[in-house]
């Protein structure tokens, strides 16, 4: 059984929490971690906007689930799941900055190193607003956090892993994001775009 060989699974959220809907991926893993317990072979990671720093996490994974804000040209808040070879990977030599080292390059790097995850699921959400610096998630995107988690649980189940609902969501210090950056504290001090 292929499932039995799946040893390492990485559940990764990427994006910049300071740019409104850009924060979607990170907020999903934060909430997933807060509400669900996972077995030891599963790592839940807030990847932020880190580029090549993430290569070692990705290459160690046999199965990879990624949450991100993705522009598919859909209605704001629409979720889309793509898998395996449907997930694009490339190295953009024409980029202007190292800061454009996107996740596609991280995947490309893992591929070049010959250590690409066997299974890959990308759960993307169509953003409404990526330009509101310092802003919160918009309502249609925020509403997709729970459905995105459900989708990930279904994928994990398919891979033979069960995420178990915690009796109580994790409290303050035990959460993935601290220092006032957790979703609730962050949004206490931000105003949505006008």
């Amino acid at each position: 059984m292929a499932e039995a060989k799946l040893e390492r699974i990485l559940v990764l959220g990427i994006g910049n929490i300071l740019w409104a809907d850009e924060g979607f991926g990170v907020r999903v893993v934060e909430e997933f971690h807060r509400r669900y317990a996972v077995p030891d072979n599963v790592t839940i990671l807030d990847g932020g906007t880190q580029g090549l720093y993430l290569v070692n996490y990705v290459e160690e994974a046999d199965g990879l689930i990624v949450f991100d804000a993705i522009d598919y040209g859909l209605a704001p808040g629409e979720l889309k799941l793509v898998r395996d070879d449907e997930v694009p990977r490339f190295t953009g030599a024409k980029k202007m900055s190292l800061h454009q080292t996107g996740f596609q390059e991280v995947l490309s790097a893992a591929d070049l190193l010959g250590r690409y995850p066997q299974r890959l699921a990308l759960i993307g959400c169509q953003p409404l607003d990526l330009e509101d610096w310092g802003g919160p998630l918009t309502a249609p995107v925020r509403a997709q956090i729970a459905p995105a988690i459900e989708l990930a649980c279904a994928v994990l189940a398919e891979w033979g892993v069960s995420a178990v609902l915690r009796p109580e969501p994790l409290a303050g210090d035990a959460r993935l994001l601290a220092n006032d950056l957790d979703h609730a504290s962050y949004e206490l001090h931000v105003d949505p775009a006008e």
């Binding site: 598919y72 190292l98 800061h99």
Partner: protein
């Protein structure tokens, strides 16, 4: 119609306009527009960009002790260096002293970031401006091996190694439209390396990709976690327990030894792979000494890496501190971050509003009020700019100036200042490199010089990591395990109002944060980042910024394929607002080019 700028550049915007605009979802970004004359030589340059529009909107009323965690999120590349700058600013405002071990660990973290960033910048952003991947497919593996062995005793250099690599590379390229290496200007006339040098460089591209993962483990060990290491006002958050039976996550001898071994391997990789590659590649581009811009005139470095804890004066900093103006290498001027007359930001050509825009504002009094309007000669609309009007407002980046002067920051600036101060650790490697390439000192003031200084600094930084690691271990062995000072941790004893600043030398240049604290909360917070200096637009007097200056007078082989522009802009290791990871359904072009 030419104009001479006060900082000595002759601008002529009468020729064809070339627009290079990265395709990202955030409007503005780093975009370059140039005018070329009938020989395709750049005679006018305009750079515009999106930086964050004021961190103060997010930080106001928050706890100053959490500011580092927010600033760490500004950027996915400069993560730790923003956090370090932030804790220094808070410590400066509140008069908090850190223990010596914390100083050593912070230095190691910062140097580690330098080593990692320089290496990754060279191989994964910049090398492809000089190295033609497709040409590597034509290389003779035996000749490649001979070349590699002639420049270094790095063991991965056999004909079989390069042969295998070439087969792998061919497979990638054949996987469809050049596979991972799509979207580049392969075959461009500005590529000068023979196929063998290209193959060797591609091999090292892959080796560096693999090795960089080792370097960042140092951040995980001292920062407690990665990719977002923990920092602490008053010291560092990791406890030291050499017996290794204490708190979970404490630094024990095993971890110290792991750091030590990573440092040794980093030094080896930089000295046996990175430096020889830069020399080898440089030797084929000796006649391409464009891109100097401001570097031969005005450069600035805040300095960093304090030898002793809590002393940020020039004599205690291992990276040079000071300013050189108008090419006068005989005088390095002192910087005071707290002097309202020195560092000021102007917005005459930036999309912000000041009460009086002929004047600059010191960051403590900084204002970030947007005012998005195009100049009268701009083409297109506010949502779809075809051509900017540099006579009006044209960038989201403010124009910082030191006593009214535009300056370049970054590794080259640091090396020029260290050189001018006759510091042997900067002067000797520079002279040696110039001698190897048989180039005069003035050749430093170029794109290639910027690239070479970064490589030299990577070596310096790796060696300094060794120094501070040894210092740390010696102190711990002598019985000092203190890593944090929590005396003033509780806000009860803080003054009602306080202000401070913190500075570092980020891999890409001078970085500083300014903070005002009121009633224990953040009242104002301003960051002036390296790319604000380098990517700055014009100021009220018409001085152009470092990116703009660096593009002047560069000949382009083909304006439709602006490899020369990318090469020079890349040499600064520019920073953009980091929200660019957003994926596109298919491998998107990373830049559009329009010639009008």
């Amino acid at each position: 119609m030419g104009i001479q700028t006060p900082n000595g550049f002759n601008l002529d915007n009468s020729g064809k306009r070339v627009v290079v605009d990265p395709l990202t979802r955030i409007e503005g970004h780093l975009r370059v527009e140039v005018n070329v004359d009938s020989n395709n030589v750049i005679r006018n340059a305009v750079s515009t960009g999106t930086m964050w529009r004021g961190i103060e909107t997010i930080l106001r009323n928050r706890d100053p002790r959490d500011a580092w965690a927010f600033t760490e999120r500004i950027c996915g590349v400069c993560t730790g260096t923003h956090a370090l700058t932030s804790v220094r600013a808070v410590e400066n405002a509140l008069g908090i002293m850190i223990p010596d071990n914390a100083n050593s660990i912070r230095n190691i973290m910062q140097l580690c970031l330098q080593v990692h960033d320089h290496l990754v910048h060279f191989y994964h952003l910049h090398a492809l401006d000089w190295v033609d991947v497709v040409s590597a497919l034509k290389a003779d593996p035996k000749a490649t091996s001979a070349l590699a062995q002639s420049i270094s005793d790095w063991p991965l250099s056999s004909p079989g190694y390069f042969k295998d690599l070439q087969i792998r590379l061919t497979k990638f390229v054949e996987s469809g439209q050049l596979g991972p290496f799509k979207n580049a200007y392969w075959g461009h006339a500005a590529y000068k390396l023979p196929p063998e040098a290209n193959l060797m460089a591609v091999a090292h591209y892959l080796e560096a990709l693999d090795f960089q993962k080792e370097i960042v483990k140092i951040h995980t060990i001292y920062g407690g976690k990665n990719p977002h290491p923990n920092w602490l006002v008053g010291g560092v958050p990791c406890a030291v327990n050499v017996d290794g039976t204490g708190a979970v996550g404490a630094i024990n001898m095993e971890r110290l030894n792991l750091v030590s071994s990573i440092i040794d391997r980093s030094i080896e990789f930089v000295q046996k792979v990175y430096l020889p590659d830069v020399v080898a590649i440089g030797s084929f581009y000796k006649d391409w000494l464009y891109g100097g811009g401001l570097s031969g005139k005005s450069v600035m470095s805040y300095g960093d890496i304090p030898e002793n804890a809590n002393d940020y004066s020039a004599r205690n900093l291992k990276l040079p501190r000071g300013v050189i103006l108008n090419g006068n290498l005989n005088e390095v001027l002192p910087i005071d971050h707290g002097d309202p007359e020195q560092i000021q930001e102007f917005v005459t050509h930036s999309w912000y509003k000041y009460p009086d825009e002929s004047k600059g504002l010191h960051p403590w009094d900084g204002v970030t009020e947007p005012n998005y309007q195009l100049g009268p000669n701009a083409k297109g609309t506010k949502t779809d700019i075809k051509e900017l009007d540099e006579g009006g407002k044209y960038s989201w980046i403010k124009a910082p100036r030191w006593r009214g002067n535009a300056v370049e920051v970054g590794p080259l600036a640091r090396y020029i200042i260290g050189y001018a101060q006759n510091r042997p650790e900067f002067k000797e490697p520079t002279d040696k490199l110039l001698k190897t390439l048989n180039l005069p000192m003035t050749a430093l003031f170029s794109t290639l010089g910027r690239t070479a200084a970064r490589a030299l600094e990577c070596d310096w930084a790796a060696t300094q990591m060794r120094y501070f690691q040894d210092k740390l271990v010696a102190r711990i062995k002598a019985g000092d395990s203190s890593t944090a000072n929590v005396e003033k941790w509780k806000p009860e004893g803080w003054p009602k109002e306080a202000k401070g600043y913190g500075f570092t030398e980020a891999p890409r240049g001078a970085l500083a944060h300014w903070i005002k604290i009121k009633d224990t909360k953040i009242d104002n917070y301003q960051c002036v980042v390296p790319t604000t200096w380098n990517g700055s637009p014009r100021d009220p007097k018409g001085n152009i910024g470092a990116f703009e200056a660096s593009l002047m007078d560069t000949p382009m082989a083909d304006p439709e394929k602006p490899l020369e522009i990318l090469r020079t802009i890349h040499s600064f290791d520019p920073c953009l607002a980091c929200s660019t990871h957003v994926m596109s359904p298919d491998g998107q072009e990373m830049a559009t080019v329009k010639v009008r």
